[in-house]
Amino acid sequence: MSAPMSNANTWTIAAAREALRKGEISAVDLTMACLTAIDAGDGLNAFVHKTPEIALEQARAADARLAAGDAPSMCGIPLGIKDLFCTKGVPSQAASNILRGFRPEYESTVTTRLFDAGAVMLGKLNMDEFAMGSSNETSTYGNAVSPWRRGNDTTALTPGGSSGGSAAAVAADLCLAATGTDTGGSIRQPAAFTGIVGIKPTYGRVSRWGIVAFASSLDQAGPMTKTVRDAAIFLQAMAGHDPKDSTSADLPVPDFEAALTGDIRGKKIGIPREYRLDGIPAEIDALWQRGIEMLRDAGAEIVDISLPHTKYALPAYYVIAPAEASSNLARYDGVRYGHRATLSAGEGIVDMYEKTRAEGFGKEVQRRVMIGTYVLSAGFYDAYYNRARKVRALIKRDFELAFAAGIDSILTPATPSAAFGLGEMASADPVEMYLNDVFTVTVNLAGLPGISVPVGLDAKGLPLGLQLIGRPWEEGDLLNHAYVLERAAGFVSKPAKWW
């Protein structure tokens, strides 16, 4: 049978892989379907730099490999790439004005691996500036818009952040899948908001080389896909040791797709009581309960567990991440590349720094740079940064104790709410926005793998996701648990096309 070509952009990676290998579609046609969808999807503001020439060239090369019988899993698969990834010769701006016009002379390890595996780059995706944000509203390109709406309400909703462009593009079928990065939830929260799958791998599983740094000890790239199987296939192609990243783990990458057995009988799933927060919508709690039942029905043992230091995670995260960011972003000084302010006569280097950074960085980035500078300052270092590091160690230990007690994975809500309206948080205290990360930051602080799986819709028809947290380096197991959840939930909803 032959699938209608015009819909090929809606396919999963797994389906496209099969069709490509069987010759039912060419990589060029598959890519064309996506490019057409992208052009029709400008209203989503997901793609901020389109690269059709590169895409078609890569697609033609993929077709040649397919014809030669040399077709890795990602061969001919059209992807969107988050703007945080440096892609050679293609604008890579981290959605910041300070990197306006920056075209790297190098290709990130992740995109290099994807291209080596035959993947096709459709373009660069919108995001929060320097990955700092939970709604995509800090982007210098203007925010991406979620393809989802609250029923007939035309209020524009956030696709989440920071990988909001990636989430919007995948949910709206502009591409088969996209890369994301996750420092405190930036893959999992937008995935949950848009009804797709997003996994943050174990810290060190995926190379950070060539990805613009936000908070180096927390940043980790991962796939954003339509299904758990696609996440397994995609992660396989991204992961692995990279000698250019000293924090990359020299460990073999297991076959993640083969781990998807659908059998979790006897597995112990932890339900952390500290994740039951006051003021969380009843729908979220109900969703969580449904998830628990699904896993229990699949033969898993449900165990109540305690992660006692959870409540300190968010404050610790909002000390450590800005501290690292304040240092990582010092290089954007106008001296060597990117934006440089125009100076008046008599102004010197300090004026150049101040003006360049004031013009180049948006408000949220400036806020975090200032917080980070403050917490690292003499006299405050011990009270903030060092204390946060100690909290981080305790949070990590909470998880280690749970896993040591036999827990295989931990089920939690992914977000405290469904997607909110763009601009709705504009007048809110920044801390309210930071609360979006309440369920996800612990995973980054502990360096663990975490995955967001769409499980249901809220009363207004918006997707809700659950998060599974796995043992370090056990992404295969984690994906399998997510696979069981995905099958049990049977989430098949798609946003109604309005764009």
């Binding site: 990834f85 440096c86 890579s92 981290a94 990197l99 920056f102 790297p104 002379e105 190098y106 990130s108 950070r208 080389w209 060539g210 990805i211 613009v212 740094a213 908070a215 180096s216 000890s217 000698p243 250019k244 990243d245 000293s246 924090t247 501290a323 690292e324 304040s326 240092s327 972003l329 010092a330 290089r331 000084d333 001296v335 060597r336 590349y337 280097i349 720094y353 500078t373 690292l376 300052s377 003499a378 270092y381 940064y385």
Partner: protein, 503 residues
């Protein structure tokens, strides 16, 4: 091996208007690690390359670029630590020192504040035969060098050259055990000597390859001993740090000036303000660069791009097993094996290559004579022509051959010097040159006898005088030596003169 024992020198005392003052000095030496590539990138460290030609993406702090530690630089730091008899820390870590400057592309220097790779060690600084100061080393850490800002190429713009950015430095921090300007200079010289022996730093001070930050304070006599007993800095005066000194002479001058400045303040009833100062060699004075209040807040924190640096004891042991003989040991051995004086041994061990040259010449020969020739003739000539030992026109084999001719009595000392000159300017085999130029000593008594007989026959008056006063016989010896062009053996001639004149 000779066991050298030393006594500690007296501290330098400066007499103020009201009382005596002693100096207390501690130093931070920045030594560029001898390596082909940078601390965290594969870019070359070659000096004198076109500006910005030795710059990797990570050196220029391009977005998303990450540092990867250069194992050789780590080995060099370990080697240096072992050479200073220091604790090697199998686990160390890198921190970021944050500040903005155009020649610092990352906006931070990667350094080791909290967990340095090398801990406590020591350096023996000899000041006179039998007199030496033992200076304790607090730590050595690895860090990145900065680039170079150029302000004099354009009236309105500044330029930056990142070739030096990210080159590995060792910061070697001493305890405040140095007690005078001469000791300070001797400490730097000794450290430089050790590092050069180890091959871990070229020690070229003019190029900034080795530079020193000097901490100077003054105290009343007796206070320093209290500090040593308790390690409580409260007994010492407030210190000032003189930055970036790259000449032994200026180090001494700067310390002397700075100590007198502090004494004048204190005797006036003032307080020394802790601050960073710069030495102006033209004016011969130090001046304030920034006070403690203006000091940068470097916001040190662990570098999240690098895992803690873990090395294995077996690896350290391998480096230890490949350590060269160090200056103190070599000096003791030269004194023992070759019977050298303390002074000669110091001169001959100052540079590793020169010591090796001497040792090759001296082996199997008279060590003292070899030392005299190497120091006086060879080093003298090299210095005169500003040549290094590696550029010496006279080889080990040639100088050895010359010494052999002297030892066998085939040439005289005078001829030896002429032969050296010929070897220096023209080259050749010493024995062949001596033979071809008729430089060999005349031991043929027939030739000497003929020359003497001719003299006696031609100078009857002199013969009479010598017979009356034997001291005047020396005239005949001198004339024979002259007639034979210096080739006759003076002892043989003397003997024959005495016999012929019947003395």
């Amino acid at each position: 091996m000779l066991d050298l024992t030393y006594e500690a020198p007296k501290p330098k005392v400066i007499a103020g208007a009201k009382s005596d003052w002693e100096l207390v000095i501690g130093m931070e030496i920045h030594a560029q690690v001898a390596s082909n590539s940078k601390l965290f990138s594969g870019a070359s460290t070659q000096v004198g390359a076109e500006p910005n030609s030795n710059v990797a993406f990570v050196d220029a702090a391009m977005p998303g670029m990450l540092p990867v530690i250069n194992e050789f630089c780590v080995a060099q730091a370990v080697r240096s630590g072992l050479g200073l008899k220091a604790q090697i820390n199998l686990r160390s870590a890198f921190d970021r020192k944050n500040y903005f400057y155009p020649d610092l592309p990352q906006g931070y220097q990667i350094s080791q504040l909290y967990h340095p790779i090398v801990g406590e060690g020591e350096v023996l600084v000899e000041l006179a035969p039998g007199v030496a100061r033992l200076v304790r080393i607090e730590r050595i850490h690895l860090e990145q060098d900065a680039g170079k800002s150029i302000h004099d190429m354009d009236p309105t713009m500044s330029f930056v050259d990142f070739n030096r950015t990210g080159v590995a430095l060792m910061e070697i921090v001493s305890r405040p055990d140095i007690r005078g300007p001469e000791e300070a200079a001797a400490y730097v010289a000794k450290l430089r000597q050790i590092l050069r022996y180890l091959g871990t730093c070229d020690g070229n001070m003019q190029n900034g390859n080795l530079r020193a930050d000097v901490n100077v304070s003054v105290c009343r006599p007796g206070q320093y001993e209290k500090y040593q007993a308790t390690q409580d800095f409260g007994h010492l005066g407030t210190r000032c740090e003189i930055k970036n000194m790259n000449s032994l002479r200026f180090i001494q001058a700067a310390i002397d000036y700075e100590a007198r400045r502090q004494i004048a303040i204190l005797e006036d009833g003032g307080k020394v303000v802790q601050e960073t100062r710069l030495y102006d060699p033209d004016k011969g004075e130090t001046r304030s660069m920034r006070s403690k209040e203006e000091a940068h807040d470097y916001r040190y924190f662990p570098c999240p791009d690098l895992l803690p640096l873990e090395i294995e004891q077996a690896w350290v042991d391998d480096i230890a097993a490949s350590m060269p003989e160090l200056p103190d040991a070599k000096k003791a051995r030269f004194m023992g094996d070759f019977g050298l004086t303390d002074y000669d041994a110091n001169v001959l061990t100052a540079e590793l290559e020169a010591a090796a040259f001497f040792e090759a010449v001296a082996r199997g020969r008279d060590g003292k004579i070899a030392a005299n020739w190497v120091i006086n003739e060879l080093f003298g000539r090299l210095n005169k022509e500003s040549k290094s030992i590696a550029e010496s026109p006279v080889s080990v084999g040639q100088l050895g051959g010359l010494l052999d001719l002297l030892a066998s009595g085939e040439i005289t000392g005078k001829m030896g010097k002429e032969l050296f000159e010929i070897l220096w300017t023209e080259g050749g085999d010493p024995a062949e040159v001596a033979a071809a130029r008729g430089m060999k000593q005349v031991t043929d008594t027939g030739a000497i006898e003929k020359a003497l007989d001719d003299l006696i026959a031609a100078n009857p008056a002199q013969v009479e005088k010598a017979r009356v006063n034997a001291k005047l016989a020396g005239w005949f010896t001198g004339q024979v030596l002259k007639a034979t062009g210096g080739k006759a053996n003076p002892a043989v001639v003397n003997e024959m003169v005495a016999k012929k004149l019947g003395l």
